[in-house]
Assembly symmetry: C2
Homo-oligomer: 335 residues x 2
């Protein structure tokens, strides 16, 4: 059984792979790896202003990946794109829990109608393709218990999570009714090179990295004891590759995460440590964030560990080092 | 504590009540009753071709109800409509499980974006209003156990149910985040005067009634042993009134149904009996229906019985008699 992400990606050599949202953080890392393993990769990305799409994310591999700037909601276009695809990574969307509350219709369009259009396109033009959908642990809302497994009740705490769960449900449904081969991954906070660090809209860690690089003080909300479950992008991508290639992943929903839980305070400490210069302070929770904050969070990854043999392999401190080093070299692409 | 629907409706005398989808089956029955009790009622209905809206549903009460033909997705319009409202019954939508599979985007627009626009309008213009949302037991999918209570896992078996659950989730969310006063009712098969009997798109019972009235043979799918949970519209409306007026209903989700479960065969027997002439036969399940059929169904109504004192009061045979008699008199309005 292949173990490293590159070995698994080798199973996709010469295969036709579509990555929607492929100019974004996860999508670009995934597309780069899969293209490097010899897959024929097409990216569809509409470069939504607030999403994480960035042309620089393909720097150095432009020739190896076909890029189509377009909106996945255009089903006619997507029918053409997915024709003959073996795998479709459905990652296009508009992250941002706060934004979704301010602009709920836009969130509905991009996070619900968009993935639905990809499914419809595949149903018509690529009925044999495996579709891997990127969902979020946010759908569980304030956890009744931790670690949170896949059977935890779904209580979306923001508009984004409502729409992500609806999109998940479309995938499960198309699997059951049309026999579409689907796999859903529920991600926790994912971080790494090529993430969005411009502002704090989508990911506090990207913002912290920016503050660190600019020599500014990192602000930790509340008392810093709230636990977050972080996944390094290389680990996350290995999960996507397993989801795309393992027969046992078909029709399944898996949590991914690191299962240990790290407090915001510990994380801030690691970030300003490790030979870097930086500082952080505690500040009160902004009101609009506390209303949708999900509190302590730890993920139960028993299912994906048992069924697909996945678990995070890269230590958190090493992952942070690699992330900060990447942005130290390429900050100008992301600010 | 008031018991009859009319007594409860009396609590809304002089109140401003909005009924979206108020030309439809449930909406018109509700609007008629509430207007009769002296509420100031405004109906918003876009008369979607496939939905149940019918101007004849307001026959005889046109002067007592303000009717606005418009689309609830128009949030600007809705802000004006709901201003000053005490209660908003959010019933506009596009029923039809089969239709939702054929036209998933239309279903998304009407069943997800529509109710979201009503919520947004209320958040801006009627933050104190109680919003009662009509959801469906369809969201539970094939039941793991019966009777099905509100904690049963949600596994929508068709696009319509995905969107209805997303709309439900928006209501719960707006309650939690913005303090909007919401109540969600999950309906089973509801029937009665003013239902849609034109075709079998939305409700098998309406179609059976049409066949009966036209002297045609009723077709019962499969072996007829599948159980359905039926609610007579007068009982359903009493639940809506309690949901609108009981403080304890705020923020809650309730099943309504009759908890007994009736087989299709028993129901067909009652329909062609009761002094009426008619006949039925068993036919195989059409393929496109068996793929989304939810199997046997019985509702657990313990929660609404305990919290709001609701239970169905009208015997099934009497309810069927009243329904058939209504359509025998007014068939021309509905065909």
């Amino acid at each position: 059984m292949p173990d490293s992400a590159l070995e698994i990606a080798g199973l996709l050599t010469d295969r036709r792979v579509i990555v929607t949202g492929g100019l974004g953080f996860l999508g670009s890392n995934l597309a780069r790896l899969v293209a490097g393993a010899g897959a024929r990769v097409t990216i569809v990305d509409s470069l939504l202003p607030r999403a994480g799409g960035n042309r620089m994310n393909l720097e150095g591999v432009e020739g190896a990946i076909e890029l189509l700037v377009g909106d996945v909601r255009d089903e006619e276009m997507m029918r053409g794109v997915v024709a003959g695809a073996d795998v479709v990574f459905s990652l296009a969307g508009q992250p941002g829990h706060l934004d979704s509350m301010v602009e709920p219709y836009a969130d509905l369009e991009h996070n619900c109608r968009g993935p639905l259009a990809v499914l419809e396109a595949c149903r018509h033009s690529a009925p044999e393709a495996r579709i891997v959908f990127a969902s979020t642990r946010q759908i569980y809302g304030h956890p009744d218990y931790t670690p949170v497994d896949e059977n935890h009740p779904v209580r979306p705490p923001d508009v984004n999570a409502v729409n992500k769960f609806a999109a998940e449900s479309f995938h499960r449904l198309y699997g059951e009714v049309y026999g579409t081969s689907v796999c859903i991954l529920r991600l926790t906070n994912t971080f790494g090179p090529r993430m969005r660090i411009k502002d704090d809209r989508q990911n506090f860690l990207g913002w912290w990295i920016r503050l660190l690089l600019e020599g500014r003080v990192i602000e930790v909300y509340g008392d810093g004891t709230q636990a977050r479950d972080l996944t390094f992008v290389d680990d996350a991508i290995r999960a996507f590759l397993l989801a795309a290639t393992c027969p046992e992943a078909g029709g399944e929903v898996f949590n991914i995460g690191d299962a240990r839980g790290t407090t915001m305070l510990e994380l801030a400490g690691m970030l300003v440590g490790g030979g870097r210069r930086g500082s952080f302070k505690l500040v009160p929770f902004p009101e609009e964030r506390s209303s949708i904050d999900i509190g302590n969070y730890r993920t139960d990854i028993t299912k994906i560990r048992s069924n697909l043999g996945w678990e995070p392999l890269i230590p958190l401190e090493l992952a942070l080092d690699r992330t900060v080093a990447y942005f130290a070299d390429h900050a100008d692409w992301y600010l």
